[in-house]
């Protein structure tokens, strides 16, 4: 890793003092990021203005001094998965490769507020994955053992300890799915997902990166024949852009975008639904996950309970919630915490997940020279935002694939080197 250059001063540094000054003087606020003219050429074009695209742009500029970068989004920044996920962070994965990767991400998240001068409100209040049968208890132990060996804080705890951490959980043996134990991961927690997006956008813009919202990529120009294709640029609904490096960070739409460059990816897109309740007085510190009941629960600082589940059973691009989803969800939540029956569900929504066969991402170079991917993020993309941005920026700047993402190359599917994160990623929020 090259040494970090001194970050340039942001146009407006945030602090309690600056708020105080603004409050007293009533002066105009400075935009968090600037609107720029769309140029017809950039060194690097990043498709997708979510956390992955913006983090990549930020680290390209901050770590490598590459600032002739455009981030394009067909909507507003963070309008895709980055604004629709349930904002849970953790690193208690199953494979050593996965644990190392997500551990780096958690560590970057821990210092992100200071790095970006933007409070992303990372709240490390602990993460519990419940085991309702002996086989999931065995998987929890497996994860705990691998985590410990990789230096990540994880342990298997019993029902008494669980009750202490989450008093509202029903840990009695009399229920349909008794809680036999849990994987407890103290550094896990939740974050303000939009703030991460905005912080990266502001940081990148401060270094001179262009962020173009409402700019949809309609094609990718690729030159060359069968033994040597190279990317030339992208076409958008606002004009063509030349670029020698194009990075696909479009998650749920990643196969459609890759197809524009003639690259086929082993990815299917599935909807994933989530829901949130009205605020109630905070009572739940930890994130609680139950794989058997297909549900996870956390409580935001605003008091809302945020619920998620596993992906919908059928592939598709629909982002509409279903009634069956909230019915099943409510049943499972009450199975865990029966006293929440009178809490009201406020809103339900859906996002898109780009699922790979082995529940691990696809990152790095593709058969088309200069066309890179950072995709296949399934249900775990938000957790990996910083480390992915850092590694993809490294990859572009040095021309070499960093070790930390080497296992995630697209060639693994042709070489039979799949990574098995299914056990830790399926409903593992």
């Amino acid at each position: 890793m090259p040494t970090r250059p001194r970050p340039r001063r942001y146009p407006a540094r945030y602090s309690a003092f600056s708020l105080l000054r603004h409050g007293l003087a009533g002066d105009h606020l400075v935009p968090a990021w600037r609107d720029r003219e769309l140029k017809n050429s950039y060194d690097v074009v990043i498709i997708g203005g979510g956390v992955h695209g913006l983090a990549t742009a930020y680290y390209l500029a901050a770590n490598h001094g590459i600032t002739d970068v455009a981030v394009l989004d067909k909507g507003y920044v963070g309008s895709g998965g980055s604004g629709r996920n349930t904002a849970i962070l953790r690193s208690n994965y199953l494979t050593p490769e996965g644990v190392r990767f997500y551990d780096r991400s958690v560590r970057l998240y821990e210092r992100l507020a200071a790095d970006l001068n933007y409070n992303v409100m990372f709240s490390q209040r602990g993460h519990l994955t419940l085991a309702h049968n002996d086989s999931s208890l065995r998987t929890m132990r497996w994860r705990a053992e691998v985590n410990k060996l990789e230096g990540v804080d994880s342990e298997v705890v019993g029902p008494a300890e669980i009750k202490k951490l989450v008093p509202y959980l029903d840990v009695s043996a009399a229920v349909r799915y008794p809680i036999l134990g849990a994987l407890y991961h103290p550094p896990g927690g939740i974050i303000r997902h939009d703030a991460v997006v905005w912080g990266y956008a502001r940081g990148a813009s401060g270094y001179g990166v262009h962020i173009h919202q409402n700019t949809e990529v309609t094609g990718i120009d690729v030159a060359g024949g069968p033994n040597g294709r190279r990317v030339r640029g992208v076409r958008t609904d606002r004009g063509d852009i030349a670029a020698s490096t194009v990075i696909n960070c479009t998650a749920g739409w990643s196969t459609l975008v890759a197809e524009m460059a003639g690259v086929r990816l082993p990815i299917q897109t599935f909807p994933l639904q989530a829901a949130v309740t009205e605020p109630v007085r905070p009572f739940l510190d930890a994130v609680v996950v139950s794989g058997s009941l297909h549900v996870y629960v956390s409580q935001t600082d605003r008091g809302e309970l945020v619920f998620g589940a596993s992906v919908d059973p059928f592939a598709g691009y629909s982002m509409r919630g279903s009634l069956e989803f909230v019915e099943g969800l409510a049943g499972h939540v009450l199975e865990l915490m029966p006293s929440l029956a009178k809490v009201r569900l406020l809103r339900q929504w859906a996002g898109l997940c780009d699922m790979t066969p082995d529940f691990s991402p696809i990152m790095g170079r593709t058969p088309v020279d200069g066309f890179l991917v950072d995709v296949g993020w399934g249900t775990y993309g938000f957790k990996a935002g910083p480390v992915s941005g850092e590694a993809m920026a490294d990859c572009v700047a040095t021309g070499r694939t960093p070790d930390i993402i080497a296992p995630f190359g697209v060639e693994r599917f042709a070489e039979g080197r799949l990574l098995g994160e299914k056990g830790a990623a399926a409903v593992g929020h």
Partner: protein
């Protein structure tokens, strides 16, 4: 001071039934029919809650379900809509999130800091030092605005119901009632859903003519045969195919009921919601909407104040003036927005003192009424695909009928303006057309008249800034700041300021927010767009969504016997089965020494018939199936497309074109789906008929050296002699007097054993008979735990335990079964590839050198680091481990990297406490009887 008026013509109170309830510990009188808020307002209460950020006192704003100022705690129920929930005798009502009391709240100090707590202030502060953030966060969490949830469940009863009306009418105002009547007249069955406690909508708080019209409509609805009315119920969402969720709160004994409706057509007659006006001081208690005062006076006989200022832009504001005068309120000033009048700000702390006019005059008052326009609650229409269009002349959004699907129509105020007669005529046509579309009856489309659209002054924000979102305490200044900071899209403004994200979900504030963002960005309201309406339309309890929790449990027919004999239950997916009967080691020894019997009913069983079954077996199993004679069974392994082990089991050839396939217990459903998927999508031409028989048979395994002796006593029609019925064969016959039993001679436990599949109804009989007849042979039942010990001694793998989501066939030690010379089978390319590449992890038998140590399952096998500061490298893991009673030592199965798989290799196992112990790879997977002599006797 009582604000209760004398009897009103349209009041919903039953004055013969007075009672009391408590408000923050104080007794409050009420009548039957009062809402919590109306009773409190009648008792002179003006402050009901404190706002989220600044803890400013909040009073009534809309006096309806959506009132953000009156959300209260009722007993153990948080966030109750106090302006909608009926008061009940003895109920304990408290204000939420106030300390030490509602009237003196310490956190109101935030008002002084208000100018520093601008939009998103928390993103800009508490950044350094990092270690202080958890402390800041604890403080922030104390500001979370909501009621309290009890730690113990109250045990309320919730229910669900399905309904299949031809027409569902959402909204029971005049238009909804007219549409329902017309649909019923046209012969359709109608479900009419109304949010309030009674039908009528705005007619309820109208004048004599309105009340007369209401009486007429109500009588006709009550008399109409095809209309079912649900009051105090709300349509929550419209999903694909007119699948509609309704929450009903009026079923006796049921807290809430979710009605799931498949409607032919949906008529949205939701009316309009009055929009607040944004100006300085617009959240001071005493500032109300015109509909709020009309409700208070006419429905609840409550005098909303003593001296009022009214800002009116429409006829409803004028009607409010008339109501106020009739109720004895002094109307000190009327500002008519149609004539360009306005108000500038409201003054007062805790209660309204005066209103400032544009000319600088201050009018003393304790009530300010605004009538500044309407919001179309278009949620249901947008869920059906509509994109409402903004009409600047009317200053509100209208549905775009072109975007609505055939099965959704709009009626009433949401569709246009007009006199009551015009609206009724329109709704009448819509109702008839809805019936026609649902039933197909009638002679062609019913012509629907076009409703007029009245001009209305565009009143969103006055010349001062004020609160836009009352739930979230978001002001218009916050929105303007967000735009200044670059959050220009209305979605970004929403996310940055949290405007429209509170309990009202934008019903009151969305259009004002859009108007202010439009103003700040220099765009028009139409260009600015709106935020997305998402279900549910109103918040709904988790209890109602969940209904009665129904998690089915599966038991075998022998369950009563297990319970009577002290079995410890084991939850295994949908099944509950005996884990053991007290001493699993003793149970295992009985099987090795005499005879044991285990209930294996959960094993998946598929009956396969047809000439193409062998093709199917050859496709799905990795081994060969063409030459399996009638009477034989074979062990088979299935792999998925990626070569990963999916399931295993035995399949027997019972007769011509007739096979019985067994699967693992946990894989029963998956394999059935897998089989059907291949047949239906890839080989629809194959003649194979699949019937799942898992629960049609009670299955039990009789295992142990004396099992043959036992079965000979109870079996008829089957020669059990070793040479007549050898290992890996199947017979059908009569067991304990029961015909059509299937007997397989197989041996998961490694002993001579027979698996019996008995027609389920006779399972218990056969089990009890076997126990009785085997008494002298030493028979004892054994559970899952003893079976796990026995199979581990024998080295038989369990799919999903000794294999995982990445274990391909050769890694599971199945080299002997995988036949790459077969034409094709699922997973073949991957397995061929795996074999060619070599160097794959392998399943091996493993024994700790110290036989008294049993490493827990999932312990990692590591390559110990040569230097202390390095981490050990993972080279495998223990997949199964037990203490073997017959060998008197610990035994394991393990997945290890290729270079460690040779028998005799010594490896290092890391225990959970961090200790490292040595273990040795054994010669065979089987720790006991590796040659299988005991199976074949």
């Amino acid at each position: 001071m009582s604000m209760r008026l004398g009897p009103q013509p349209g009041e919903v109170l039953d004055r013969t039934r007075p009672f009391t309830f408590t408000w923050n510990g104080r007794e409050v009188p009420a009548y039957q029919g009062d809402t919590i808020a109306s009773a409190l307002a009648a008792a002179g209460v003006r402050v009901f809650s404190r706002s989220l950020k600044y803890h400013r006192p909040r009073g009534l704003l809309t006096a309806s379900f959506h009132d953000p100022g009156c959300i209260v705690q009722v007993d153990d129920e948080p966030n109750v809509r106090g302006a909608h929930r009926l008061a009940r005798p003895g109920m304990r009502v408290r204000s939420q999130n106030t300390w030490p009391s509602l009237n003196f709240d310490v956190k109101a100090i935030n008002q002084l800091a208000g100018r520093f707590l601008s939009a998103g202030f928390y993103y800009k502060t508490f950044i350094r030092p990092r270690w202080l953030w958890p402390t800041y966060e604890r403080v922030l969490r104390r500001f979370a605005n909501g009621g309290e949830v009890p730690p113990e469940a109250a045990g309320d009863y919730y229910d669900k119901r399905y309904a299949h009306p031809e027409v569902l009418v959402a909204g029971g105002g005049p238009a909804g009632m007219a549409a329902a009547l017309a649909a019923a007249d046209a012969g359709a069955s109608v479900l009419l859903v109304e949010e309030e406690h009674q039908l009528g909508g705005h007619l309820c708080w109208g004048d004599e003519a309105d009340l007369a019209a209401l009486r007429g409509l109500s009588e006709r609805v009550a008399a109409a045969p095809g209309i079912e009315v649900l009051c105090d119920s709300a349509v929550l969402g419209r999903y694909e195919g007119n699948w509609i969720a309704v929450v009903q709160r009026t079923v006796p004994g049921v807290a809430e009921r979710l009605v799931k409706v498949r409607a032919g057509t949906l008529v949205v007659a939701s009316g309009l919601i009055e929009r607040p006006y944004v100006f300085a001081g617009n959240d001071i208690p005493g500032v109300m909407l015109s509909t709020a005062v009309r409700r208070l006076i006419n429905l609840y006989a409550v005098k909303p104040g003593e001296r009022a200022v009214v800002l009116t832009g429409n006829g409803d504001g004028d009607a409010a003036v008339a109501d106020l005068k009739r109720a004895g309120v002094t109307v000190a000033h009327i500002a008519d927005a149609r004539l360009g009048d306005d108000i500038v700000r409201a003054h007062g702390r805790g209660r309204l003192r005066s209103v400032e006019l544009p000319d600088g005059r201050r009018v003393d008052c304790d009530l300010l009424v605004t009538a500044t326009g309407w919001t179309a609650p278009a949620a249901l229409l947008t869920m059906a695909g509509d994109r409402p269009v903004y009409d600047p002349r009317a200053a509100r959004y209208f549905p775009d009928p072109a975007r609505l699907p055939e099965d959704v129509l709009a009626a009433g105020g949401i569709a246009g303006d007009g006199s009551l007669d015009e609206l009724l005529a329109h709704a009448d046509a819509v109702g008839a057309e809805a019936a026609r579309r649902a039933t197909g009856a009638g002679d062609g489309p019913v012509p629907i008249p076009t409703l007029p659209v009245d001009a209305h002054p565009a009143l969103f924000r006055g010349r001062t800034h004020g609160i836009v979102d009352f739930c979230e305490d978001v002001s218009s200044t916050d929105l303007v700041q967000a735009v200044e900071e670059g959050y220009r899209s209305v979605e970004l403004v929403k996310r940055y300021t949290t405007v429209t994200m509170g309990p009202t979900q934008g019903k009151l504030e969305a259009v004002n927010a859009v108007a202010i963002v439009a103003e700040a960005t220099g765009r028009s309201i139409g260009e600015t767009g709106t935020t997305t309406w998402r279900p549910p339309y109103v918040p709904v309890t988790l209890g109602a969504l969940a209904g009665r929790v129904f998690e089915p449990v599966r038991y075998s027919p022998m369950q009563p016997w297990h319970e009577a004999h002290g079995a410890t239950p084991l939850v295994a997916g949908a099944w509950i089965r005996p884990d053991h009967y007290g001493d699993p080691h003793a149970e295992a020894r009985t099987v090795r020494g005499d005879v044991g019997i285990i209930d294996v009913t959960p094993i998946g069983k598929l009956d396969l018939r047809g000439p193409d079954v062998p093709k199917l077996l050859n496709l799905l199993y990795v081994n060969k199936w063409s030459k399996l004679d009638v009477g034989r069974v074979r062990y088979g392994v299935m792999c998925a497309d990626d070569g990963v082990v999916l399931d295993d089991g035995v399949t027997g050839h019972l007769g011509p074109d007739h096979y019985l396939m067994s699967t693992t217990s946990s894989g029963a459903a998956t394999v059935w789906e897998w089989v059907e998927n291949w047949l239906q999508t890839q080989h629809p031409d194959w003649q194979v008929h699949v019937t799942p028989l898992t629960t049609a048979y009670a299955s039990m395994n009789v295992a142990g050296p004396r099992s043959r002796e036992l079965l000979e006593r109870v079996t008829e029609g089957v020669d059990l002699a070793g040479e007549a019925f050898p290992y890996m064969n199947v017979r059908t016959g009569r067991v304990c007097g029961v015909d059509d039993c299937v007997l397989w001679r197989i041996g998961f436990t490694g002993e001579l054993s027979y698996e019996l599949h008995i027609p389920a109804a006779y399972g218990l009989h056969v089990w009890e008979t076997l126990m009785e007849r085997g008494h002298d042979l030493g028979i004892a039942p054994f559970g899952v735990e003893a079976q796990r010990i026995l199979r581990l001694e024998k080295g038989h793998l369990i799919v999903g335990q000794d294999t995982d989501g990445l274990t391909r066939g050769f890694s599971a030690g199945l080299d002997w079964a995988i036949k790459l010379d077969k034409d094709d089978f699922v997973g073949k390319p991957e397995l061929a590839w795996q074999q060619e590449a070599g160097e794959y992890p392998r399943l091996v038998g493993l024994q700790p050198l110290d036989g008294s140590v049993v490493p827990e399952e999932a312990c990692q096998i590591v390559d110990p680091p040569r230097r202390a500061d390095r981490r050990p490298r993972i080279v495998g893991r223990v997949t199964s481990s037990r203490m073997s009673p017959i060998l008197g030592r610990s035994i394991c199965l393990a997945q290890v990297d290729a270079h460690l798989a040779a028998p005799g290799t010594q490896v290092t196992v890391r225990l959970p406490d961090g200790r490292h112990i040595p273990a040795r790879v054994t010669d065979h997977l089987a720790h006991f009887d590796p040659t299988g002599d005991r199976l074949r006797v």
